[in-house]
C-alpha cells in the first residue's frame, strides 16, 4: 500500500494514500470533532466543525495555511496539519454559537441530553449561548407517526438522517427542503411523516446527533399500566435487546447483559418477564413448515420472511406485487402477544382485556406493527405497547434501578428459554440459518451434524447460498437494509436470480442495528462496525448453548401439544398468521 507522510500537531505519521486528515489524526490518537460526517454514508463536508489548518507542499516549500474539512480532505505527502490552534478553537466555537442561535435549547429535558453530540461539543468548547440571538428557522414538530417524532427546532441540518433514509435505505421520504436559512429537513410538500411511505425503520433516529429525531416515547403508557391494579402487565424481550441494552448503562457495545436485564425489568414491576426467543423459535417452526408447504404444493415462491415490520411496510409500498411472496407468519412479537391473550390468558384464567402486554424490541417499526389490522387474535390488540431498547433503558434509569449492581436472573416460564436459533434472529442471516436448521432436519429426516450455516452470516447487504438437501437443492438469499432488499428483489423479478427462500430485514445488519437501539455517537459509528460487533454477541450465545434448534425447544413443543396442535394447523393460522396490504406509493 502506498503510504503518505504527514505531520499532525508536530507528530509524524505515515498513513495510506487516500486517507482523510480525520482518519490520519485518529491513527495517532487525535480526535477531531465532527457533526455531519458518517463514514461512507454522509461525506458532505457541510457542518464545518471539523475544520483544521493545513499547509501543503508546493514544490519544495510549504504553502500557506488553509482551513480544510478534515472529514473529506485527503492527506498529501509532506502535509502539515494543526488540529487545535487558537484560530481553530475560535472557529469551532463560533460554529457552535451559530448552531445554538438557531436551536431549541430545551436541553434539560431533551431525551438526548447527555447523548447529544451537539451538547457535548458545546460543553467541551464552553460556548456562549446568547451572543448571536436572532430569528430561528420556521420548522415544525411532527407527531403524526406512531414511531418517529421529528422536531425541526432541534435540527442542525447535518443531513445524517437524509443520508440514512435516502442513500443507505434507498427510501428518501425525508430530505432538505427550501434553501438558505429556511432550509429544513422535511417530507414532500412539508406533509406529515405518517402520510409518507416511511417504513418506520428508525435509521434516521440512530443517525441523528441531536434530539431532532426520536422514537415516540411510550414509556408513560407502560408506567401507567404498571401502576394500574386491574391490569396484569407482562413483557417479552427481543433477542437483540440483551446484546445492546448494556450500552445504555455504560457497557461497551457487544456486551451480553441478559441476566441483569431480566433482573432490572422484573424490578420495574412486571407480572412476568418473558423471552421473545421462544416465539422466534415458534416462528421458525411455522415459517419453515409454510415454506415446505409452498415447495411441495407449487405455492408462491420465493417465500420471503415477515418478521421485520420495516421490511413489511417497505414491501407493501414499493413491491406491492410481491406481498403474496411474504410469509403469512406474524412476527415473533405479534405471535407472542397473540399467545399471551389466548393461550396464556386461558391457561392462567385471565380475561385478555385485563392483560397489558409490552414488548421490548430494538425496533421502532414495531410501534407501527402493534397497530396493524389483523393483529388481534383475541379480539384485542395482540401487543399493547412496543418499546425500544432505549426506552427500556430509560425506564430502568427512571425507576432508580442500579443496573450494574444487579445479580443475574432468569426469564419466567412458560416462555423462559429460546434456542440458539432464536437468539441469532437478531442478526442478518439469523432467521435464514434458524430456518435451515429446521428445514434441513425435516427434509433429510435425520439429526444435523453441524448446525452452522456460515454462508448466510456476516454484514454484507446481499448474501446468496445454495444447499443440497438430499434430492432437493434449496437456493436462498438474504438481504438487510431496504436498499439492498430492493436490489435483490429487482434481480428476482427480472428472473436473473432463482431462489426459493429469502430473508429480508429492514435495517442494515438486522435487528442488532435496529432503529430502536442505543445511541452511539458518530465517533463510535465511524470507527467500529456496530452491526458486526453486536451480532457477535448473538452468535457467541448461540455457540455456547446446548439448545441450538427451534424444533428442540421444549416450551415450543409444549405449545403445540397443549394448544396449537400441529404447525400450520387451522388454529395456528388463526392465531399466528396475518395478512398484508398493497399500499403502493
Amino acid at each position: 500500500m502506498e503510504m503518505v507522510n504527514v505531520t499532525i500537531n508536530g507528530i509524524s505519521v505515515a498513513v495510506p494514500k487516500g486517507s482523510t486528515v480525520l482518519d490520519a489524526a485518529k491513527q495517532i490518537g487525535i480526535d477531531i470533532p465532527t457533526l455531519c460526517y458518517l463514514k461512507e454514508i454522509n461525506e458532505i463536508g457541510a457542518c464545518r466543525i471539523c475544520l483544521v489548518e493545513v499547509q501543503e507542499l508546493r514544490g519544495a516549500t510549504l504553502g500557506p495555511k488553509r482551513m480544510v474539512t478534515s472529514c473529506v480532505y485527503p492527506v498529501t505527502e509532506g502535509m502539515v496539519v494543526t488540529t487545535n490552534s487558537p484560530a481553530i478553537t475560535a472557529s469551532r466555537k463560533m460554529n457552535l454559537e451559530l448552531l445554538l442561535s438557531n436551536h431549541n435549547k430545551e436541553c434539560l429535558s431533551c431525551v438526548r441530553s447527555t447523548t447529544c453530540e451537539l451538547q457535548r461539543l458545546c460543553q467541551e468548547y464552553g460556548v456562549n449561548e446568547n451572543r448571536f440571538k436572532g430569528a430561528v428557522t420556521e420548522s415544525g414538530l411532527d407527531l403524526s407517526s406512531p414511531a418517529i417524532v421529528r422536531d425541526g427546532s432541534k435540527c442542525i441540518l447535518c443531513r445524517r438522517c437524509v443520508a440514512a433514509c435516502r442513500n443507505m435505505q434507498g427510501i428518501g421520504v425525508i430530505g432538505a427542503n427550501n434553501r438558505g436559512f429556511d432550509t429544513v429537513i422535511g417530507t414532500a410538500m412539508d406533509g406529515t411523516q405518517a402520510s409518507t411511505s416511511c417504513i418506520n425503520c428508525g435509521q434516521c433516529i440512530v443517525a441523528c446527533p441531536t434530539g431532532a429525531l426520536t422514537e415516540r416515547d411510550d414509556t408513560d403508557k407502560v408506567f401507567e399500566a404498571l401502576g394500574d391494579p386491574t391490569k396484569k402487565v407482562y413483557i417479552c424481550i427481543a433477542p437483540s435487546v440483551r446484546a445492546q441494552i448494556g450500552e445504555c448503562f455504560g457497557y461497551e457495545p457487544g456486551t451480553d447483559v441478559e441476566g441483569k436485564m431480566v433482573a432490572a425489568v422484573r424490578r420495574l414491576g412486571f407480572d412476568g418477564v418473558f423471552d421473545m426467543n421462544v416465539t422466534a423459535d415458534l416462528t421458525i417452526v411455522e415459517e419453515a413448515n409454510e415454506l415446505l408447504g409452498r415447495l411441495n404444493n407449487n405455492g408462491v415462491l420465493p417465500m420471503i420472511t415477515s418478521c421485520s415490520p420495516g421490511w413489511i411496510k417497505y414491501c407493501e409500498h414499493y413491491f406491492p406485487e410481491m406481498t403474496e411472496n411474504l410469509s403469512t407468519c406474524k412476527s415473533p412479537q405479534q405471535m407472542f402477544g397473540a399467545l399471551m391473550k389466548t393461550y396464556f390468558a386461558e391457561k392462567e384464567g385471565i380475561d385478555p382485556e385485563d392483560i397489558f402486554f409490552v414488548s421490548a424490541i430494538p425496533c421502532t417499526a414495531k410501534k407501527f406493527e402493534v397497530g396493524r389490522p389483523d393483529q388481534s387474535a383475541a379480539g384485542v390488540p395482540d401487543v399493547d405497547v412496543a418499546i425500544t431498547t432505549r426506552e427500556l433503558g430509560r425506564m430502568i434509569n427512571r425507576a432508580g434501578i442500579n443496573f450494574k449492581a444487579l445479580a443475574d436472573e432468569r426469564f419466567d416460564t412458560p416462555f423462559s428459554r429460546g434456542s440458539g436459533a432464536g437468539i441469532i434472529f437478531g442478526a442478518t442471516g439469523g432467521v435464514m440459518e434458524a430456518a435451515l436448521r429446521y428445514a434441513a432436519e425435516v427434509i433429510l429426516d435425520k439429526k444435523l451434524e453441524s448446525v452452522e450455516f456460515p454462508e448466510v452470516r456476516g454484514v454484507e447487504g446481499v448474501k446468496l447460498a445454495a444447499y443440497k438437501l438430499g434430492d432437493l437443492e434449496v437456493k436462498v438469499a438474504v438481504a438487510s437494509g431496504t436498499k439492498n432488499a430492493k436490489e435483490l428483489l429487482e434481480r428476482v423479478k427480472s428472473g436473473e436470480l432463482d431462489v426459493q427462500f429469502i430473508e429480508i430485514m429492514g435495517c442494515p445488519g438486522g435487528c442488532v442495528n435496529g432503529g430502536g437501539q442505543p445511541y452511539q455517537p458518530a465517533s463510535v459509528r465511524n470507527s467500529i462496525d456496530l452491526r458486526a460487533v453486536r451480532a457477535a454477541v448473538l452468535y457467541k450465545a448461540d455457540a455456547a448453548t446446548d439448545l441450538r434448534k427451534s424444533q428442540d425447544n421444549a416450551e415450543v413443543m409444549a405449545l403445540y401439544r397443549e394448544f396449537l396442535g400441529a404447525p400450520n394447523s387451522h388454529k395456528a393460522h388463526e392465531i399466528l398468521h396475518t395478512s398484508y396490504i398493497k399500499r403502493g406509493l
Binding site: 463536508g45 472557529s91 463560533m94 442561535s101 436572532g134 432538505a176
Partner: protein, 633 residues
C-alpha cells in the same frame, strides 16, 4: 438552408463568399449588389426591453412602402453597450449613431437619412457639452474600450452563422484541429495568461492541463448562469456572438479530450437562450458541431441546460450538481472538477466571457493577448456599468485601466452633478471601493488587495445619496436569500450578519456590533464550504474598512448621513426659508405637514412644519418644494 462545411477548404470558401456581407460595418466598404446601407438595430435584452423589436417591424414596413427594401439591409445585432440610450440604431457605412429611437422616428429616418442622405440630427447621440457624435469611433464611450470578447457584439447578426464565418469564425477551431496538438492548445492558453472571467481568476490553461491529464469520458461545460445582480456581460456575448462560445467549447473539447459540452444558462435570459440554440442548430447543420468536424475525425456535441434561479449555481460544483438534476448545492473540493466533475467525470468549466476570448487567442497568438493588461492579469475585461452613472451599459477595457477612466471617461461620470462616493465590483462577493482609490488600475490582484474582487464584472457606481450601510445590507440580503443552506457558517452566519446590520439601520446599533460584524465576517470567510459563503462578507468588510464613519454615525449619532435609512433620517422645514405656499402639505401622503403661526421675515404666509411622529419619510415634500426649504438629515 446552411451549406455543409466539411473541410477547412470549405470553411475558407464560405468566409470568402460572405466576407462582403459584413464589410460595410467594419470599415472595408464593399457594396454587395444593390445594397447601399446597413441599418443595425440593437437586439440585446436592454434595447429589446425598450422596444427595438417593434422598430424593426416598423422599419421593414417603411422600407417596403418606400420601395427601397432591397437597397437597405436591416441587421438585428447583439448589444452595442450603451444600454442607457436604447433602443440604439446605427447606419453604415457612415456609422451614424441614433439613440432612444422610437417607432414614430422611423419614417423620418427613412425619408431624411436613408433616402435623402440627411442625418436626423435630433436623434443623434450627443455627448456632454452638446457635442454631436457622428460615428462610433468618435465617441468617448468607445474610444478607450478595446473589444476582444465583444468584438462581434453589435457588428454581426448573431442568428446568421455566415456573418460569424465571414469574421474569421471557426478558423481557430480549424487551426487547432489541423495544425495543433492537444498539448499545443493547452500551452497556448497557459502562455496567453488568460484567467477565468467568472470570478476567482483561476488560470484557464492550468484548468485545461489538469483535465487533459485525466483519462476516460470527459465533459466541457460553460457557466452561463450569470447571477450577480447588475451583471450582464455573459448575456451580451450569448446574445451578440453565440458562435464564439460554441467554437471555444469545441476547442476546449479537443484540448482536454472531451466530446460533449453543456452550457448552463440562466432561464431568465430568453433571448440569449434562443440565439444560442439557433447557433447550435446552425453549427450542427453546417457540420461544425457533431461527428467528424471539418473532416478531422474530431467529434463534439453540445446541449443546453437551464438554470432555475439559484445564484449559488454559479459556483462550479453547485452548477454541476444542478446539471445532474439535484438541488444546486456545492460539494467539497477536492476532488476538483478536472478530476471528478460532471456525472463524476473529469470536466472543464469556464464562463462565457472566458470562452469568448479563446478563438482570438488561438488565431492571433498568446503573445497578442498577453501584451494587453497587467503583469498578472492579461487581456481585457468586460464590465457592466450600472448605478449612478451616465452611460449605463457594457464596456470592455484592457486590464489595468483605472476605475477613474472607466467611470469618468467611458461612463460619462456621475449624473446630476452628484459626487462619486464608491464603486462596487464583484457583485455580492465583492466590495466597495472608495473615492480615494479611484485611480487603482483594475486587475484581479489589485481588487483583492483593496478588499473587493473582480467577480464576473458588475461595476455599480454610487454617489453621495447612497448609504454604505444600506448597500452592505442590500448585498447581504441577496446572499442570505441565495445561500443554499448546506453549510452552517453561510446558512446561519450570513443571516446573523444581516440581523446586526438591520439593527444598526434601525438605530439600535451598539459599538460592539462592529466588532461582532468583523468577527463573524472573518469566520464566514474562512469556514464556509463554497465561494458564495467565503466571499459573502466582503460587502460588509469593505464598507467597514472604508466607510466606518458611516457605521459610527448610524450607531453613535443615530443618523444616516446619506439620508437613506428611514428610521435615522428626519425631514425638517427651515422656517425662515419657507414662504408658506403649502405645496408640500398637499404632496404629503400622510398629512404630516401643517401650518405654524410663524411668519418668517419678508414672507407673507406662515411657515409650514412636519410632525415627525406622522412622517413616513417618503421624501415627497422635498421633491415638491421649489424653495429648498425642506432638509433631510
Amino acid at each position: 438552408m446552411i451549406e455543409k462545411i466539411s473541410s477547412v477548404a470549405a470553411l475558407n470558401a464560405a468566409r470568402e463568399a460572405h466576407i462582403n456581407d459584413v464589410a460595410m460595418r467594419v470599415g472595408t466598404n464593399a457594396a454587395v449588389g444593390k445594397i447601399r446601407k446597413h441599418i443595425l438595430i440593437c437586439g440585446g435584452t436592454g434595447c429589446t426591453s425598450s422596444g427595438s423589436t417593434v422598430l424593426r417591424t416598423a422599419l421593414e414596413a417603411e422600407l417596403a412602402a418606400k420601395g427601397i427594401a432591397d437597397e437597405i439591409k436591416i441587421v438585428t445585432t447583439g448589444c452595442f453597450g450603451l444600454c442607457a440610450l436604447g433602443p440604439i440604431v446605427i447606419v453604415y457605412p457612415e456609422g451614424t449613431f441614433y439613440s432612444m429611437v422610437k417607432v414614430e422616428d422611423i419614417a423620418e429616418i427613412v425619408e431624411s437619412h436613408l433616402i435623402g442622405g440627411t442625418v436626423v440630427e435630433r436623434l443623434e447621440y450627443r455627448e456632454k457639452g452638446n457635442h454631436t457624435v457622428t460615428s462610433l469611433n468618435d465617441m468617448t464611450f468607445y474610444k478607450k474600450q478595446q473589444r476582444v470578447a465583444l468584438h462581434n457584439c453589435g457588428v454581426i447578426d448573431p442568428e446568421n452563422i455566415t456573418e460569424y464565418i465571414a469574421r474569421d469564425g471557426y478558423q481557430a477551431l480549424a487551426k487547432v484541429l489541423t495544425s495543433m496538438t492537444r498539448e499545443d492548445v493547452v500551452q497556448c492558453m497557459l502562455d496567453s495568461g488568460l484567467r477565468g472571467r467568472g470570478g476567482a481568476g483561476f488560470p484557464t490553461g492550468l484548468k485545461w492541463k489538469f483535465a487533459m491529464g485525466s483519462t476516460g469520458k470527459k465533459y466541457v461545460a460553460c457557466n452561463a448562469d450569470e447571477g450577480d445582480p447588475g451583471a450582464f456581460m455573459d448575456r451580451s456575448v450569448l446574445e451578440g456572438d453565440p458562435h464564439a462560445l460554441i467554437e471555444a467549447m469545441a476547442i476546449a473539447g479537443f484540448a482536454i479530450g472531451a466530446d460533449e459540452g453543456y452550457v448552463y444558462v440562466r432561464a431568465e435570459y430568453p433571448i440569449a437562450i434562443q440565439r444560442l440554440q439557433i447557433a447550435i442548430d446552425q453549427a450542427k447543420e453546417a457540420g461544425l458541431l457533431g461527428e467528424n468536424i471539418l473532416g478531422t475525425g474530431f467529434n463534439f456535441n453540445m446541449s443546453l441546460r437551464f438554470g432555475a434561479g439559484a445564484f449559488v449555481c454559479g459556483e462550479e460544483t453547485a452548477l454541476m450538481t444542478s446539471i445532474e438534476g439535484n438541488r444546486g448545492e456545492p460539494r467539497p473540493r477536492p476532488p476538483f472538477p478536472a478530476v471528478k466533475g460532471l456525472f463524476g467525470k473529469p470536466t472543464v468549466l469556464n464562463n462565457v466571457e472566458t470562452y469568448a476570448n479563446i478563438p482570438q487567442i488561438i488565431l492571433k497568438g498568446p503573445q497578442w493577448f498577453s501584451s494587453m493588461g497587467t503583469e498578472k492579469s492579461k487581456g481585457t475585461k468586460v464590465f457592466a456599468l450600472g448605478g449612478k452613472i451616465t452611460n449605463t451599459g457594457l464596456v470592455e477595457v484592457p486590464m489595468g485601466t483605472t476605475l477613474r477612466e472607466v467611470i469618468e471617461e467611458i461612463g460619462g461620470g456621475i449624473p446630476n452633478g452628484k459626487k462619486f462616493k464608491a464603486a462596487q465590483t464583484g457583485g455580492p462577493s465583492g466590495g466597495c471601493i472608495p473615492a480615494h482609490l479611484i485611480d487603482t488600475p483594475i486587475d484581479y490582484d489589485n481588487l483583492i488587495a483593496i478588499g473587493s474582487m473582480m467577480g464576473s464584472g458588475g461595476l455599480i457606481v454610487m454617489d453621495e445619496d447612497n448609504c454604505m450601510v444600506d448597500i452592505a445590507r442590500f448585498f447581504l440580503e441577496f446572499t442570505v436569500d441565495e445561500s443554499c443552506g448546506k453549510c452552517t457558517p453561510c446558512r446561519i452566519g450570513t443571516r446573523r450578519l444581516l440581523e446586526i446590520l438591520d439593527k444598526i439601520i434601525a438605530g439600535n446599533g451598539e459599538m460592539e456590533d462592529l466588532d461582532r460584524l468583523e468577527e463573524l465576517s472573518n469566520y464566514i470567510k474562512s469556514a464556509s464550504l463554497c465561494g458564495l459563503g467565503q466571499t459573502a462578507p466582503n460587502p460588509v468588510l469593505s464598507t467597514l474598512r472604508y466607510f466606518r464613519d458611516e457605521y459610527v454615525a448610524h450607531i453613535v449619532d443615530k443618523k444616516c448621513p446619506a439620508g437613506v435609512c428611514k428610521k435615522l433620517t428626519n425631514y425638517t422645514i427651515v422656517k425662515d426659508q419657507c414662504i408658506g405656499c403649502g405645496v408640500c402639505a398637499k404632496q404629503c401622503p400622510v398629512g404630516a405637514i401643517s401650518r405654524t403661526d410663524y411668519v418668517a421675515p419678508g414672507k407673507k404666509l406662515a411657515a409650514m412644519e412636519i410632525d415627525p411622529a406622522k412622517c413616513v419619510k417618503c421624501g415627497a415634500c422635498v421633491a415638491s418644494c421649489r424653495f429648498k426649504a425642506i432638509v433631510k438629515g
